[in-house]
């Protein structure tokens, strides 16, 4: 566990440090409650509060609209990609979308002096665990639904026999790199954005009161872009989950 939790100063990577809040041991396994755990709890609690505490009125209140917009957004996306065959995966995709979206958005919010901001999705192990879960789930669903026939996914149809071995190799590699690309995409976007902001914040300090305005202005604009990225990456994660599930269920190729 990272123990150099002294003042990170201008080190742009310091914001990703994990610090233990309460030490918990499950046998020999470290299950400590860390700042990452705290933010996961905050993410889940905020999503639950948003979805459960909003009203259920005929004419929705603002908070209710947010939940309903998210619901219909994910539902429409799933209908477009999966058709009606993926209804049973709707709760999972919705949970993934809301978790990633809330984690990304909480990462953008900093209330100085209350809590040290932290982005749950800026850690490769978190995004990789989610991507691996999606990958294994899709693969299991594919084999349950199509049996050994699911392997046909690796054999594209209508291809000259000469090229077939090469394409099978390419398809196989692309299939097994899915969890890596899915997790690295989200993690790298989050980490790069936050690192960039921190680097420019360092410029603001080092360039002083005269020159510091330029990087500050850039930071303001870049923060707006980061909000877009925060939403977009949650959307991309959900879309790719749907596409992988669609491959498994419908075997479109």
């Amino acid at each position: 566990m990272a123990s150099n939790s002294g003042d990170g100063g201008l080190n742009p990577m310091h914001q990703f440090e994990i610090s233990t809040i309460a030490e918990i041991k499950l046998g020999s396994i470290d299950a400590s409650f860390t700042n990452a755990s705290l933010w996961m709890v905050i993410v889940v609690a905020s999503v639950c509060l948003l979805l459960l505490l909003s009203s259920s009125k005929l004419v929705p209140s603002r908070l209710q609209s947010v939940g309903e917009l998210a619901y219909e957004f994910v539902a429409n996306m799933m209908r477009d990609i999966l058709g009606d065959s993926g209804r049973s995966f709707f709760p999972l995709v919705f949970t993934l979308f809301m978790f990633v979206l809330a984690a990304n958005m909480w990462g953008m919010i900093n209330i100085p002096g209350v809590l040290k901001p932290f982005t749950v999705t800026s850690h490769i192990i978190v995004t990789f665990a989610m991507a691996m879960f999606v990958f294994v789930l899709a693969t299991v669903v594919g084999f349950v639904k199509h049996g050994v026939g699911y392997l046909k996914l690796f054999v594209p149809s209508g291809v000259p026999t000469v090229l077939l071995p090469l394409l099978v190799v390419i398809e196989t590699i692309s299939y097994f790199t899915r969890p890596i690309s899915l997790s690295v995409r989200l993690f790298a976007n989050m980490m790069a954005g936050h690192t960039m902001l921190k680097v420019f914040a360092g410029f603001v300090v080092s360039m002083g009161i005269l020159g510091g305005w330029a990087p500050l202005a850039f930071m303001v604009a870049f923060t707006g872009l980061e909000f877009l990225v925060a939403f977009l990456q949650a959307y991309v994660f959900a879309v790719l989950t749907c596409i992988y599930l669609n491959d498994a269920i419908n075997m479109h190729h």
Binding site: M13, A31, S32, A36, L51, L52, P60, Y71, T95, A129
Partner: protein, 159 residues
């Protein structure tokens, strides 16, 4: 890079599993049924309102059709009544005229008969007067007595 500190991985994985699991349970058991139910009930409400509007429109169209039918019927009835009245009046007038004609004809005939009778009577009187006058003239001229029968015979011969 703190992300590659392997010691931080187990607690993150464990807490991700716990929090994500809780979020999945809450969303699948409570949040989605609630939101989905709200959206569905809203759609049902809109659909039923549209149905109701359609039903009311149909009703009003039916009412308009019934009103127009009643109007047409009333018009036809009024026309019938007018025609009937006209017909009865015409028949009455016709009958009255016929009765009047008959009466007038009867009176005419009566008058004609009376004129004929008066004429015959008058002629009768003229004959008598002529006979009397002729008898008187003859007796004055020839001084003898003439019988009424002879005079009548003579007049009849003259006639």
């Amino acid at each position: 890079m703190p992300q590659l500190d392997l010691a931080t991985w187990p607690p993150q994985l464990i807490w991700l599993t716990i929090t994500f699991g809780i979020l999945y349970l809450v969303i699948s058991k409570f949040a989605l049924p609630k939101i989905g139910g709200t959206i569905e009930s809203r759609q049902n409400r809109i659909a039923s309102d549209l149905d109701e509007a359609q039903r009311l429109k149909d009703d009003s169209e039916k009412a308009i059709a019934a009103y127009e039918a009643a109007l047409a019927e009333a018009k036809a009835k009024a026309h019938g009544i007018a025609q009937e009245t006209r017909d009865t009046l015409k028949a009455e007038i016709e009958a009255e005229r016929a009765a009047l004609d008959a009466e007038l004809n009867a009176r005419l005939e009566k008058a004609e008969a009376s004129i004929a009778a008066t004429k015959a009577e008058a002629l009768q009187s003229v004959e008598q007067v002529a006979a009397d006058a002729a008898g008187a003239i003859v007796s004055q001229l020839i001084g003898g007595k003439t019988t009424a029968a002879a005079v009548k015979k003579a007049i009849a011969d003259v006639k």
